[in-house]
């Protein structure tokens, strides 16, 4: 497991090894730790804007002894076949899941890029700039990655967050649906139905998803 302190130190060390500025986005457990929702995570999830940035990052973590590892047993078979699956690197207990441009079928919408919760810049000779997606986007991405504990993380966010913007989440899901993610609505609907056993969610949000699904 990676603690918040480990994560910060790791980013600091990586920023010393990179040879050009890199910009990426944090989601999943990494973003949750930046938020203060939890203290440790199994993996560091990062999304890069382009392949050269990911390559540069991989070069840096390889120098630190990280090796590529298999996605098997981490993601469901259907996700493993997706061409936008991540590259995974591991060293002892530390693991990186590195995506480019998309997280499986999910694109980064302009709104997601604009409405960041935080920006952390690790400045050395070059800068590693990490944008942290807002909580609604973290939930949205947790709903699609469907790994073990993802649902528990969603519950943690909702329990701790008084001002969770459900409309934002639904709007983003519909945006994904309209921009080619055929699974966005299905995954979200599945997650909300499961969530309803533990948390109150207004029916109108599910209805908006059904209506959008019928549109196509």
């Amino acid at each position: 497991m990676i603690t918040h302190e480990d994560q910060m130190n790791l980013f600091r060390i990586i920023s010393k090894s990179i040879k050009k500025d890199i910009e990426c986005y944090a989601f999943g457990g990494t973003a949750m730790m930046f938020y203060g929702y939890k203290d440790e995570t199994k993996d560091v999830d990062l999304l890069f804007n382009d392949e050269p940035s990911r390559k540069e990052f991989i070069e840096a973590i390889k120098q630190l002894g990280f090796n590529e590892t298999s996605l098997l047993k981490i993601y469901i078979p259907e996700k493993l076949r997706d061409k936008n699956r991540p590259l995974m690197f591991k060293r002892e207990d530390y693991r990186f899941d590195l995506f480019v441009k998309q997280i499986f079928k999910t694109k980064v919408s302009p709104r997601m890029k604009e409405d960041l919760f935080a920006i952390h810049e690790f400045k050395e000779k070059s800068t590693l700039k990490i944008g942290v997606f807002r909580k609604e986007c973290i939930v949205q991405l947790k709903a699609i990655t469907e790994r073990q504990n993802d649902f528990d993380d969603i519950l943690t966010i909702l329990k701790k967050e008084q001002n969770f913007d459900w409309q934002y989440l639904i709007d983003e899901t519909i945006w994904q649906h309209r921009h080619g993610d055929s699974w966005a609505i299905l995954d979200m609907e599945k997650m909300i139905r499961q969530l309803k056993e533990y948390h109150f969610v207004e029916q109108k949000y599910l209805e908006q998803l059904y209506k959008a699904q019928k549109e196509k």
Binding site: H4, M8, F11, R12, S15, F34, Y35, G36, Y37, D39, L116, F117, A118, I119, H120, E121, F122, K123, E124, T127, V132, K159, K160, E161, Q162
Partner: protein
Amino acid sequence: MENIELLKKLQGLQTIETASEALNLSRQATLNLLSRLKKEGYVTTTGGGTQKRLYKITVRKQRKRDPGMFDILNKYSPMKLNPWYDHQVHGIYTPEDVLIDAIKTKSFRAILASLRLFNHITDWKKLYSLAKQNDCWQEIGALYDLAKKNFKVKRMPKQYAPARFKGKKYILRKYENNDFKDIGEKWNVGIPFRKGDLIKVET
């Protein structure tokens, strides 16, 4: 009571009296509880001694922060900004970097507040090279002249004086006012500020 429920009840600013009243606990029991929550990272305190101690309680853990653009702008500018995202820089972050970042936000208030940074610029070479990298030297020059006209600033070395600039630049997207036309023409930059705006960062 589970931690989350407890924190939800207490979240916000509390004194020991208001917290014990909210939880219906004795003063000592509340102190013990707040001390535990502080160790876990949910509580930070201010005051103490002659001042009343205030407890800031959140449901999320409060992480240690490194200063970012908004922190430095708020430190030097009398006009304070309410950050619209949490910006932190882990490493060396100087007023030269902040000035460039403020211009890149294209935010009226952030750029206005950044005028106060010109009194803290010590490395003009660094500022010039950063501005050239980010293609914003004209904007920096215009903002410097604007700041010089209104407040005390560190002098810009002569070698960075304006040359002839080909293209017109805008501090805010294609928006300008005529209150500082002379400076705008000198640097070929559209300045969005009016004289009244500058008063906000004067004192």
